[in-house]
C-alpha cells in the first residue's frame, strides 16, 4: 500500500496545523461515539420508565463508555505533547490511535479485575476523566467546522443510536425489559443466559464454565463474558444486567467507532490529500458508512442472502470485530514505522519495543481475538501466515520465531475456546441450505461479499489494473496488499459456511468479517470510491441559468441518474433504519400491556399507540408481582447479593420437583436452558443442575461438559450428605437449597457441609 501522490500529499499535510493533523478525524469519532453511547443509555432509561429505573445505574456505563472512547484521543495527544512525534518520521505503533483504544479497553478491564481486591471501584474517576475529556474534545471539535455540519453529525449520531438500540433490543436476545420479560412469561432468548452464566462463574469462581453442575471447564470464546464481568465489577451491576445495558452502551460505539477509526488510520497513513481531513468535511463518508451498516436493500433481501444487519445481537462479534480492526491498524502502523525507518538509525528503546511487538504482541493479539470470537482468530491467523510468506518475513529469525509461537498459541487457544460440539464435520453448502433459498444461490457470493467486491473493483481500477497481467504486476510490486487481504478474508471467511455445519448460522461470523474490513478500507478512500463509480463531475458553469426551463435544461443526465438510484437506496436505508427501533418499541409496549390488569389493558390501544398510557409504576409493579416467575427471579437475584467470598465456596441446588423454576422458561425446547437461568441470575454455580430427565438436551452451550441425567432425580439425591459430596467435588462446602411453596414463595435452606477430613 503506497501513497497516491507523496509530494503533493506532503505539501498539503504540511499546510495543515499540527493540531489538526493529529486530530485527523479522530475527534469526530470521539464525539459521535459519545453521542451514540449517551443516546443508547437514554433510550434504555426511557424504555424502563415505570419500572425500576435509576439514572445512576444508567449513567455508570455511559461514564465508562466515554472514558473508553476518549482515552485514545487524549493519550495520543499526550504522547504527541511529550514529543514522541519528533522521535521519528512516523508515530510509534504504541502511540497510534488504534493501539491506544485497545489499551484503553485493556486498562478498564484490568481495573475492573482489581475491584474485588481493592474493595472499591475507580469508576467515578474514570467517569470524570471520560466526561471531562469528552466535553473538552466536543468544545474544540464544534469550533472547527461550520455549525450545520457539526449539527448534522450530532443529530445523525443520535438517530444512529436509536437504530443501533433497535438492532440490539429489537429481538428477544437483549432488551431493557429482559428481566421483566422473564418474570412475565419466560419468553426470552436463551443465548444471553450461558454468556451471563459464564461471566458470573468467571467473576465468582474464576473458572470458565456455565456452572450448571459444578465447575467443569467449558471450552468457549469466553473473552466477552470475562470482559463484561470486569466491567460489571467497575459499574457495580450484575453481569446479567450488564448484557442488557452495559454492552450496548459501551460496545456499540466501539464497534462503529472502531470501524471508522480503522478507516481513518488507513486514510491518514497514505498521507494523501485527504489525510487528516475532518470527517465532517465529506458527508459521502457517512453515507457509505450508513449504507454498509444499515443496508441499501430491504432487510428481507439482505436476510434472504444471509446478510444479517442484526449481527449486533452477538456481543462476542460486536467486541471482536472492532478489536480485530484496531489490532490490524496497529500492525499496519508498526509496518509503516518499520518501513519508514528502514536503513535509518533506530533508538534502542524503540527497537526493543518493535521486537517485542513482533514476538509477543502479534501472536498474543491474534489469540486474544480467539477468546473474543474464534472466527476472528482463525482469520487473523490466516492473514498473519499469508503476510509471513507474501512479504517473505520468514527470512528474518524474529518473524519466524513469532510465527512458530503463533502456531503453538493458536493450537492451544483453539482447544480452549472451541466447543467440541461445534465441530460437526463436513456438510457442503450448509449455510446456503440453512439460510438462503436455492433460487437465490447463484447470487449469494455477489451479494454476501458485496462490499468486498466493491472494494476490490475500485482499488484495482484506481490502480489502473485492467488485465490479469496488470494484476500480476501490481501484486508483484506489492501495490495491492490491501486487496489481497480483503480477498483472503473474503474467501477464507466464506469457506466454513460452504464446507462445515456450524450451529445457529454461526458461519456468518466468519463470512461477515470481510464486510467490515472492506467497508473500513472503502471509507479510507471515499473520494476515489465516488470518482470511480460516478466518474468525474462536469465542470460547474460560471453563470447559473435563470428561469425554470433553463434550469431544468441544465440538469445533467448524470445528476438525474444519481437521484434515480439514490431514491430507492435512501428509501431502503430509511425503511431498514426504522424497522428495528419500531420492533423494539412494539415489544416494549407489548410487555407493558401484558403487565397491566386485563380490564385496564383492554381500554388501552395495543402497539406503539398504547405506550403513553403504560408507564404507571404501581400498576407495572403489581403486574410483575402477579407474574408467574416473579418469585423465582427475585429469589435467584437475591442470592447474587451474597458476599462474593461466601458465594465462592457455595453451590446452589434446586430440586427437580420445583416446577416453578424448572418450567419457568416457556419457549419450545427451553427446558435444556433452564439451569443456565439460575447461574446467570444468582452468580452461584449449581450442583446436580442438569435439565430434567426426558428433556432434549442441546448439544451446544457447553452442555457436553456435564454429565446428562440418566434417570429422574430421587429424594435420596437431595439428601444433605449427597449434596455435600457433590459440592465437595466442585471444591465447595456449602449448599443453598432453593424451593418454592404452593404460593410460589421462595425458601432457601443452607446446608453447611462438614470440613474435609
Amino acid at each position: 500500500m503506497k501513497s497516491d501522490d507523496p509530494s503533493r500529499a506532503e505539501q498539503i499535510t504540511a499546510s495543515r496545523s499540527a493540531s489538526d493533523r493529529l486530530d485527523g478525524g479522530y475527534d469526530t469519532i470521539v464525539v459521535a461515539s459519545g453521542i451514540v453511547s449517551i443516546g443508547i443509555a437514554a433510550l434504555y432509561w426511557v424504555m424502563r420508565i415505570g419500572f425500576e429505573d435509576s439514572l445512576i445505574v444508567v449513567a455508570r456505563p455511559v461514564g465508562l463508555a466515554l472514558f473508553i472512547s476518549s482515552f485514545p484521543f487524549i493519550a495520543n495527544r499526550g504522547i504527541w505533547a511529550l514529543g514522541a512525534e519528533e522521535q521519528g518520521v512516523a508515530p510509534p505503533w504504541w502511540g497510534s490511535y488504534a493501539f491506544l483504544w485497545l489499551l484503553g479497553l485493556a486498562l478498564t478491564a484490568v481495573l475492573g479485575r482489581l475491584v474485588p481486591a481493592l474493595g472499591f471501584s475507580p469508576l467515578p474517576f474514570l467517569t470524570l476523566v471520560g466526561v471531562v475529556s469528552f466535553l473538552v474534545i466536543f468544545a474544540r471539535w464544534i469550533t472547527k467546522a461550520p455549525l450545520w455540519r457539526s449539527s448534522l453529525v450530532i443529530v445523525g449520531s443520535g438517530v444512529f443510536s436509536v437504530w443501533a438500540s433497535g438492532v440490539v433490543w429489537g429481538r428477544i436476545y437483549k432488551n431493557p425489559l429482559f428481566y421483566e420479560n422473564y418474570i412475565l412469561n419466560g419468553v426470552i432468548h436463551h443465548d444471553s443466559l450461558p454468556l451471563a452464566a459464564i461471566g458470573n462463574m468467571l467473576r465468582t469462581y474464576h473458572v470458565a464454565t456455565t456452572g450448571i453442575d459444578g465447575l467443569n471447564h467449558v471450552p468457549y470464546h469466553w473473552g466477552t463474558p470475562w470482559l463484561f464481568a470486569q466491567w460489571s465489577n467497575l459499574t457495580g451491576t450484575q453481569v446479567f444486567d450488564f448484557y442488557q445495558l452495559g454492552f450496548p452502551v459501551t460496545m456499540m460505539s466501539l464497534f462503529f467507532g472502531g470501524t471508522v477509526a480503522f478507516a481513518v488510520a488507513m486514510r491518514n497513513r497514505r498521507k494523501g490529500p485527504d489525510a487528516g481531513q475532518d470527517l465532517r468535511h465529506d458527508f459521502r463518508f457517512w453515507f457509505v458508512f450508513l449504507a454498509a451498516s444499515i443496508g441499501i436493500i430491504p432487510l428481507s433481501g439482505l436476510d434472504g442472502m444471509g446478510v444479517w444487519t442484526s449481527l449486533l445481537i452477538s456481543e462476542s462479534y460486536t467486541v471482536a470485530v472492532p478489536c480485530g480492526l484496531l489490532f490490524l491498524a496497529t500492525v499496519v502502523a508498526f509496518y509503516d514505522g518499520v518501513s519508514q525507518r528502514a536503513g535509518a538509525g533506530t533508538g534502542r528503546a524503540r527497537a526493543v519495543a518493535d521486537s517485542l511487538f513482533v514476538l509477543i504482541g502479534i501472536p498474543l493479539g491474534i489469540v486474544t481475538l480467539g477468546y473474543l470470537k474464534i472466527s476472528l482468530m482463525v482469520l487473523g491467523f490466516a492473514l498473519a501466515m499469508y503476510a509471513l510468506f507474501r512479504l517473505r518475513l520468514y527470512r528474518r529469525p524474529l518473524y519466524l520465531m513469532a510465527a512458530l509461537l503463533l502456531v503453538v498459541l493458536f493450537y492451544y487457544t483453539y482447544g480452549q475456546v472451541s466447543l467440541p460440539a461445534h465441530r460437526e464435520g463436513i456438510s457442503p453448502f450448509d449455510f446456503l441450505w440453512s439460510f438462503v433459498r436455492p433460487a437465490w444461490w447463484p447470487f449469494f457470493l455477489i451479494v454476501h461479499l458485496f462490499w468486498s467486491w466493491v472494494y476490490i473493483a475500485i482499488r484495482l481500477r484506481s490502480e489502473g489494473v485492467g488485465t490479469v497481467a496488470d494484476l500480476k504486476e501490481a501484486a508483484a510490486e506489492q501495490r495491492i496488499l490491501d486487496v489481497e487481504a480483503v480477498a483472503l478474508i473474503a474467501v477464507l471467511g466464506i469457506a466454513p459456511g460452504f464446507i462445515l455445519h456450524i450451529d445457529g448460522g454461526s458461519a456468518f461470523y466468519f463470512s461477515d468479517v470481510q464486510r467490515w474490513l472492506s467497508v473500513g478500507l472503502i471509507l479510507s478512500r471515499v473520494p476515489i470510491f465516488f470518482a470511480v463509480i460516478l466518474g468525474e463531475a462536469p465542470p460547474k458553469r460560471k453563470r447559473k441559468p435563470r428561469g425554470f426551463l433553463s434550469r431544468l435544461d441544465s440538469v445533467s443526465l448524470r445528476q438525474v441518474l444519481i437521484v434515480f438510484f439514490l431514491l430507492p437506496v435512501v428509501g431502503s436505508m430509511v425503511s431498514n433504519g426504522v424497522a428495528w427501533p419500531i420492533t423494539m418499541l412494539r415489544a416494549n409496549a407489548a410487555t407493558r400491556h401484558a403487565l397491566y390488569p386485563a380490564a385496564v389493558a383492554a381500554t388501552i390501544p395495543s402497539g406503539l399507540h398504547g405506550l403513553p398510557w403504560l408507564h404507571d409504576r404501581t400498576t407495572l409493579d403489581e403486574g410483575l408481582r402477579r407474574s408467574p416467575n416473579f418469585a423465582v427471579a427475585e429469589a435467584l437475584r437475591g442470592l447474587s447479593a451474597l458476599p462474593a467470598s461466601l458465594r465462592r465456596h457455595t453451590a446452589l441446588f434446586i430440586p427437580q420437583d420445583q416446577g416453578a423454576f424448572w418450567h419457568s422458561l416457556t419457549r419450545p425446547g427451553a427446558c435444556t436452558f433452564q439451569p443456565l437461568l439460575a447461574t446467570a441470575l444468582s452468580s452461584i454455580a449449581m450442583i446436580d443442575g442438569m435439565p430434567p430427565y426426558g428433556c432434549t438436551l442441546s448439544r451446544y452451550y457447553g452442555f457436553g461438559s456435564f454429565t446428562p441425567r440418566t434417570r429422574p432425580q430421587r429424594a435420596a439425591d437431595a439428601e444433605p450428605a449427597v449434596l455435600c459430596r457433590r459440592a465437595a467435588k466442585a471444591g465447595m462446602d456449602r449448599v443453598l437449597v432453593l424451593t418454592f411453596d404452593g404460593t410460589r414463595r421462595a425458601t432457601t435452606t443452607t446446608v453447611q457441609c462438614p470440613p474435609k477430613s
Binding site: 436493500i297 430491504p298 432487510l299 428481507s300 433481501g301 433459498r437 433460487a439 437465490w440 444461490w441 447463484p442 447470487f443 457470493l445 455477489i446 467486491w453 473493483a457 484495482l460 489494473v465 485492467g466 488485465t467 490479469v468 497481467a469 496488470d470 494484476l471 500480476k472 462536469p538 433553463s550 431544468l552 435544461d553 441544465s554 440538469v555 445533467s556 443526465l557 448524470r558 438525474v560 441518474l561 434515480f564 438510484f565 431514491l567 430507492p568 437506496v569 435512501v570 428509501g571 431502503s572 425503511s575 431498514n576 424497522a579
Partner: protein, 739 residues
C-alpha cells in the same frame, strides 16, 4: 430513432433483412410445433384426437409464417423499391389473423370449414421458409438456433400450463376434482354465449350483454370452430399453439423492422438475427428473467400472467404489429404520401385501436397515449389529415372503451394500489419503479448515452428533433402504463396489464440495438486497452462480467425449467390420482401412467365426472335448439353448487355451466348466502335475495322466466334417484322429456 434512418432504401450487399424474417418464421414454426407436440404428448392415454392439434398448428403457421412468404413474394425482384405499409410483414400478419377469424365465422354460418386450406398454406409456408432459411448461414448455428427455439417453446408453454388456468388435461382436471381456476370458465362462458346466442354474456341468468374486452374470447371461439373442438378444450390448446408463437414472433418482427431503420447508422456491421447473440441474450433475459421468479413476483413482474391471460397474450402481439406497421408506414410517408396513407390514417389506425381495445383495453389506451404523445411532440397535429385521424382514433377508442370497460374493475382512487395489493412488500416499494420498469430504463439509458445526450436540455432538443422517438415511445408506454396501477385500484392486479406492456416494447428495441451497443463497446475497449497474450491480456472487466453473467445464466436456466417442471408434475399428479380412482394401489412408474383403460376407468369414477360429462354432453345440442334454450340447475342440486368447497369461490360456480355446456343458465345466480363478488360481470344480474323455493322450480315457473328472457326451452339438470345426474328438457309451453 434518427429521422434520416426512417427511409426505405436499396439493401446493401450484407443485408440480413430477409434472412431475419425467415429466422422469425422458423422460430415460430419450431415453437408452434413443439408446443403442439407437447400438448399431444401431455394427453397420451386420454381421448386424444390428432386432428384438432394438427388444425391448430396449421392455423398457427398460417398466421405467423404465411405472411412472410406472402411478403417475400410481394417484394421479389423489387426489394429496393419503397414498400407500402399494407404489404409490410406486420400488416400481412394482421391480415392473416383476420382471415382465420373470418374463416371461423364461416363455419357456423355456412357449414364450410376451410381449415384444411389454411393449414395447408401454413404447413407449405413453414416448409418453404425452412428451406429458404436453412440454406443461409452455418448449419451449426441453424441447428443450435432450432434447439434453442424448441427449448424456449418448452418454457413458454410450461408457463401457460403450469397453473390451474390452462392445461392440456383441463377437461380431465375438471372432471376429476374440479381443481381449476375460474378465470378460463369466465372467458369460455362468454365465448360460448357468443357462439350459441350471438351475445357477449356470461350467461348466468339469460344472456344480458356484459361489457368486457371479449375480443380474445370471440377469436378463440372462431378458431375452435376451425379446429373442430369445443372452446373450453381449445383454450388450453389454441392460445399456446397459435398465440404464444405469434406473441414472440411479433416481438422479433418489431425488432427487425426497427433494425431495418438502424442499418443506415451501422451499415454493414450488423449480424443476422440468428447470430445476434446480444439480441438473444436480451430476449431470454427479458422473457425468462435474470433474477429468480420469486424476486420477479415480489416486484410485481408476473411472467405467469403474461402467458396465462389469453386476452393479454393475444393483445400484445397485435399492439406490437400495429407499431411495426406504423414504422413501415412512417418510413414511406417520409418519401411520399399516397392513397394508402389515407387508408392507414383514417381506417387502419382507428380500426386497430378498436381491435386492441376489444382484445385488451389497456393496450388500446396505451397505444392512444403513445400516438398522441408523439403527435404532440412532433407537432404533427397541424397536419389536417393527421388531425382528422386523431379525431377518429379518439372517437373509436371512446366507443370501444364504453363497450368493453368493466366499471366494477375500477375500484376508485387508491394511491399506490398496485404496490399495496399485489404482493409487493412495503420495504421494496422504493425499488418498485426501478425494478418493474427495469428494461425500459435500460433501453432509455443506453439510447441516451448512445446519442451522447448529457443534460435534460439536450434530451428535450433531441426529442423535438425526432432523434429519440423510440425512447419517447418507451418512456410514454412505461410511465402511462405504470400510473394507472399507482392511482387507481384495478381489481385482481390487472394493473399489470398496463405496467407490463413497456417490457414488450423495450424488448424489441433492445434486441434491435444490442449489436450496435456491443460493437461500440468493443470499439471503446480496443481503444483503451491493447490486447496482450491470452492469459496476461485477459481483461479484468471480462472476469467481472463473467462473475455477473454466471449467476444470471444459472438463474435463467432455473427459471426456465421451473414452469415446465410444475406443469409436468401436475400432469403426473392427475394421472396418479386417476389411477388411484381406478383402484391401482401403491406407486406407479412414470412410464406406466398412460394406460388408456386405467385412465378412463379412473376418470369415470372421479367425483365430478358424471356432472361435468352431462354438462359437456349438452354442448352437443344443435345450434338452432341451443339458441332458444336455457339451462336450469336448481339450488337444491348441491353437487353442482358446492363443487368447490371453498366458500369464497361460490361466485364463480355457475360459470362452469355455460363454459361446459354452451348453454346460458336460467336463474343461475349463486346461492343467497354467497358473498358475491362484484367482478366477472356479476353486476349485470340481479343477486338472489331469497332462497330458491319449490314454486320457483316448477316447469311453469321456469317457462315463464325463460319466456321473459326470450327463450322457449329449458333444460333442467338435477340429481336423480337412480343415477348421479338427470337431465330433462322442458318445451315451453310446458312439455317435458327426460334423458
Amino acid at each position: 430513432m434518427p429521422a434520416e434512418v426512417i427511409v426505405e432504401r436499396k439493401p446493401p450487399a450484407r443485408d440480413h433483412d430477409r434472412d431475419d424474417r425467415a429466422t422469425i418464421s422458423v422460430f415460430a414454426t419450431v415453437a408452434a410445433s413443439v408446443i403442439a407436440a407437447l400438448y399431444y404428448a401431455a394427453r397420451w392415454g386420454f381421448d386424444n384426437p390428432a386432428r384438432p392439434v394438427l388444425a391448430t398448428l396449421g392455423l398457427s403457421l398460417f398466421i405467423t409464417v404465411a405472411p412472410f412468404i406472402a411478403w417475400r413474394l410481394s417484394v421479389r425482384g423489387h426489394y429496393d423499391e419503397p414498400q407500402p405499409w399494407w404489404r409490410s410483414q406486420p400488416a400481412l400478419t394482421i391480415a392473416a389473423l383476420a382471415i382465420t377469424a373470418l374463416a371461423g365465422m364461416l363455419v357456423p354460418a355456412t357449414g364450410l370449414n376451410v381449415v384444411g386450406i389454411l393449414a395447408a398454406i401454413g404447413y407449405g409456408s413453414a416448409l418453404a421458409a425452412l428451406v429458404i432459411w436453412i440454406t443461409q448461414g452455418s448449419q451449426r448455428i441453424n441447428v443450435l438456433f432450432m434447439i434453442g427455439s424448441a427449448a424456449f417453446a418448452v418454457w413458454a408453454c410450461g408457463v401457460a400450463w403450469s397453473t390451474r388456468y390452462k392445461t392440456p388435461v383441463f377437461w380431465e382436471t375438471l372432471e376429476y376434482h374440479a381443481d381449476v381456476h375460474h378465470d378460463p370458465l369466465y372467458n369460455v362462458s362468454m365465448a360460448n354465449t357468443m357462439r350459441s346466442y350471438g351475445v357477449s354474456s356470461t350467461g348466468l341468468d339469460g344472456v344480458p350483454y356484459t361489457p368486457y374486452h371479449y375480443g380474445s374470447a370471440w377469436l378463440n371461439s372462431q378458431w375452435a370452430y376451425l379446429a373442430g373442438t369445443d372452446v373450453l378444450a381449445f383454450y388450453s390448446l389454441g392460445p399456446p399453439v397459435i398465440v404464444i408463437p405469434l406473441f414472440f414472433a411479433a416481438v422479433l418482427l418489431l425488432a427487425v423492422e426497427v433494425r431495418k431503420g438502424w442499418r443506415v447508422v451501422g451499415a454493414g456491421s450488423d449480424p443476422p438475427l440468428k447470430k445476434d447473440y446480444a439480441a438473444w441474450l436480451f430476449f431470454l433475459a427479458v422473457t425468462v428473467g435474470v433474477i429468480p421468479t420469486v424476486g420477479l413476483d415480489a416486484m410485481g413482474i408476473w411472467n405467469l400472467h403474461v402467458l396465462i391471460s389469453e386476452s393479454y397474450v393475444m393483445g400484445v402481439p397485435i399492439f406490437l404489429l400495429v407499431i411495426a406497421t406504423s414504422i413501415a408506414f412512417w418510413r414511406r410517408k417520409r418519401s411520399s404520401l399516397r392513397a394508402e396513407g389515407l387508408v392507414f390514417l383514417l381506417v387502419f389506425a382507428p380500426l386497430m385501436l378498436a381491435v386492441t381495445g376489444f382484445l385488451k383495453v389497456s393496450l388500446m389506451l396505451l397505444l392512444l397515449c403513445a400516438a398522441f404523445g408523439l403527435a404532440a411532440l412532433g407537432r404533427m397535429l397541424r397536419d389536417r389529415l393527421i388531425a382528422l385521424s386523431a379525431v377518429l382514433c379518439v372517437g373509436t377508442s371512446f366507443v370501444t372503451y364504453k363497450l368493453v370497460s368493466v366499471a366494477a374493475q375500477n375500484q376508485g382512487i387508491v394511491p399506490f394500489a398496485y404496490m399495496r395489493y399485489s404482493g409487493v412488500d412495503t420495504a421494496w416499494w422504493p425499488w418498485f419503479i426501478l425494478a418493474h420498469l427495469f428494461w425500459s430504463w435500460v433501453y432509455i439509458y443506453l439510447r441516451l448515452r448512445e446519442e451522447k445526450l448529457a443534460a435534460i436540455g439536450a434530451i428535450r432538443h433531441a426529442a423535438l428533433e425526432g432523434r429519440i422517438t423510440d425512447v419517447l415511445v418507451v418512456a410514454i408506454v412505461a410511465i402511462a402504463g405504470w400510473l394507472p396501477g399507482e392511482v387507481i385500484d384495478i381489481h385482481g392486479g390487472s394493473a399489470i396489464y398496463f405496467s407490463d406492456v413497456q417490457r414488450w416494447v423495450a424488448l424489441p428495441l433492445l434486441m434491435a440495438s444490442g449489436w450496435r451497443w456491443v460493437a461500440q463497446w468493443s470499439e471503446r475497449r480496443r481503444e483503451t486497452i491493447s490486447p496482450g497474450s491470452f492469459r496476461g491480456g485477459m481483461r479484468l472487466s471480462d472476469l467481472w462480467l463473467a462473475a455477473i453473467l454466471i449467476p444470471i445464466s444459472l438463474t435463467m436456466i432455473l427459471n426456465g425449467i421451473r414452469a415446465p417442471g410444475t406443469a409436468l408434475r401436475a400432469n403426473i399428479a392427475l394421472r396418479r390420482g386417476l389411477y388411484a380412482e381406478a383402484g391401482v394401489k401403491g406407486p406407479v412408474a412414470l412410464r406406466s401412467l398412460a394406460d388408456r383403460r386405467l385412465l378412463a376407468t379412473g376418470l369415470h369414477r372421479s367425483p365430478d365426472y358424471s356432472l361435468i360429462a352431462a354438462l359437456r354432453e349438452l354442448d352437443e345440442t344443435p345450434p338452432a335448439i341451443k339458441r332458444r334454450t336455457l339451462l336450469f340447475i336448481p339450488q337444491s342440486y348441491v353437487r353442482f353448487w358446492h363443487i368447490w368447497t371453498e366458500p369464497e369461490r361460490c361466485s364463480y360456480v355457475p360459470m362452469i355451466a355455460p363454459a361446459t355446456s354452451g348453454l346460458a343458465l336460467l336463474d343461475g345466480m349463486p346461492p343467497v348466502d354467497c358473498n358475491l363478488t362484484n367482478q366477472y360481470g356479476l353486476t349485470r344480474y340481479r343477486r338472489r335475495i331469497t332462497p330458491q323455493l319449490p314454486v320457483d322450480v316448477t316447469p311453469v315457473a321456469l317457462c315463464a322466466k325463460a319466456k321473459a328472457k326470450g327463450f322457449s326451452r329449458v333444460v333442467v339438470l338435477d340429481a336423480s334417484v337412480d343415477s348421479d345426474v338427470a337431465v330433462r328438457a322442458i318445451e315451453c309451453p310446458v312439455r317435458i322429456s327426460s334423458t
